[in-house]
């Protein structure tokens, strides 16, 4: 169960905002993370608390395949992102790196900045505690749940390698 305070963002938050090219992806994750969303909310990276939740409009994470986009959110301690839809490469990258995402069409209308929200990945239940409202996210495909359960894609790949007796 994830429980945290909400940061609200609009539609089409792109990978250039999550991992700005000016910051580059050449530096370590902690440095890159300082620039996360800096162009649209300069205070975000400085004040976000470990365990906070992002609720955003549709098409969150559209754009590049750069993994630094979900990696920056993870480095800042963001616990999960709730949005009506995600850029498809971002969605895969986030799950692979261990950042949970929940697809929920109604979330941006109900949930407001600063609300306390509870989210259960397995059931997809989202509760806005501040407003006393319940929502349900679309379930993740089973293969993604399996990757999450194994602890990320690298763990999943290592298990598969061992199963096939290939030496790493």
């Amino acid at each position: 169960m994830i429980k945290g305070k909400v940061w609200k963002f609009g539609e089409n938050v792109d990978t250039g905002q999550l991992a700005p090219p000016v910051a580059g992806d050449l530096v370590d994750a902690a440095i890159g993370a300082r620039y996360c969303l800096v162009n649209i909310r300069p205070e975000f990276a400085k004040t976000v608390q470990r365990g906070d939740i992002i609720v955003a409009g549709k098409n969150f994470g559209c754009g590049s395949s750069r993994e630094s986009a979900p990696k920056n959110l993870l480095a800042l301690g963001v616990a999960c992102v709730i949005a009506p839809s995600f850029g498809r490469i971002f969605l895969r990258n986030a799950i692979n790196l261990g950042l949970p995402l929940l697809e929920c069409a109604g979330a941006p209308d109900v949930i407001k900045e600063g609300d306390m929200v509870e989210a259960d990945l397995a059931s997809g239940r989202i509760a806005d505690i501040t407003r006393g409202r319940d929502m349900r996210a679309s379930p993740l495909p089973p293969v993604l749940m399996e990757i999450i359960e194994k602890g990320g894609l690298m763990e999943y790949a290592r298990a598969k390698l061992q199963a096939r007796r290939i030496k790493s």
Partner: protein, 425 residues
Amino acid sequence: MGQTMAEKFLSRKNVAGKPVRAGDIIDARVDGIMLHASSGEVDHRAMQGGFSNGVPRVFDKDKVYVILDHYQPPCDHHYAKKNKAGRDMALRLGLTHFHDAGPGIAHQMMCELGYVRPGELVPGNDSHTVLYGALNVASSGQGEAELVHAVVFGEFWYQVPPTIKIVMDGQLPPYPFAKDIMLYLAGQYGDDFAQYRSVEYTGPVAGQMSIAGRMCMSCHTVEIGGKFGLFRADEKTIEFVKARTNLPFEPVEADPDAEYERVIEVNVDEIEPQVAKPHRFGNAVPVGEAAGVKINQAIIGACSNGRFEDIEIAHRILKGRRVARGVRFLISPASNEVLKECIAAGIIPDLLDAGVYFLDPGCGVCQPNRAYMVDGEVCITAATRNFRGRYGPPDSSVYLGGPATVAAAAVAGEITDPREVLRGR
């Protein structure tokens, strides 16, 4: 019930050997993997995942293509180190196809060097990998962690996407127009109308369109959220591919009774040249609505529009004219092959005389380590994206347009209708 192209591709590549339908989740056997400038990241992810020596094995040395494109030549020490990481991995794994300082854009080179062939399934570590759909290849961009898995096993999981069919009617104008069609579609239907979907580009205009134009449309499929952006393989495709490889291939056709989630019909005769205003691809309007916006920088290049026809139109517009005072006009061909076409056609001297800054082939005008701006400046570009801060600071503005629109703006010093500038040319 028949199958869409995506269903056919993924049925053919399904490890389980069974036909698939939209919605199925399968492991698919890949025919190739494109790794570009961030190849070293793939090794790095493997190390973070506990493989102490990096990627432990490669499923087929002939099928993993490493092309170090984004940071050539490296403009600082960090980029040089990044290139070295990719170089080290390619050499350690003994890959057959490794291009160090090509130069050129990986996607263009994958097509030109015959590394992708109709009917194949090819993921890559760049969002514009979807470009190979122009050659009837099911390709899409992925992150590095996933590609570790693909490089080791030659397999990759896919959810079979539903398909949107775009039927294009009408007659293409006598200048490159693929970008305008994609901007129009995004403007009409939204930046994400093809999210998680496969797109099939069909109709008479798909046939009229050059391979370069198709590459532009397939490339921009990611800007509308798409997973694959597919054209059928016609005579033009077969001729292009056969000139570049002797390896056999088998194109994929959609069945006539395939089931589409959505069919969108457009008549290109009714589409005006488009520009996307800052900071979204889908923020597109007919060029007239942005006319008069003063520009500081104009760019033709990138995997979207760095091919010969895109540079030739700039020549047609600029010959005997000058780039407007105060405007930097950068042109970067997509590859050495494109550069050689420009040299053979004799168009470069006129462009230089007009005041164009003609750059080497590569990703630098989009990436954007060759094209930084300052706050308050405005760029019109035929490159891929206009996200906030794409060319540096957040208060610089980027407009997207086709190469004719970009060249016309470079001459006028402001956004203007390219049809007026092209009159009589």
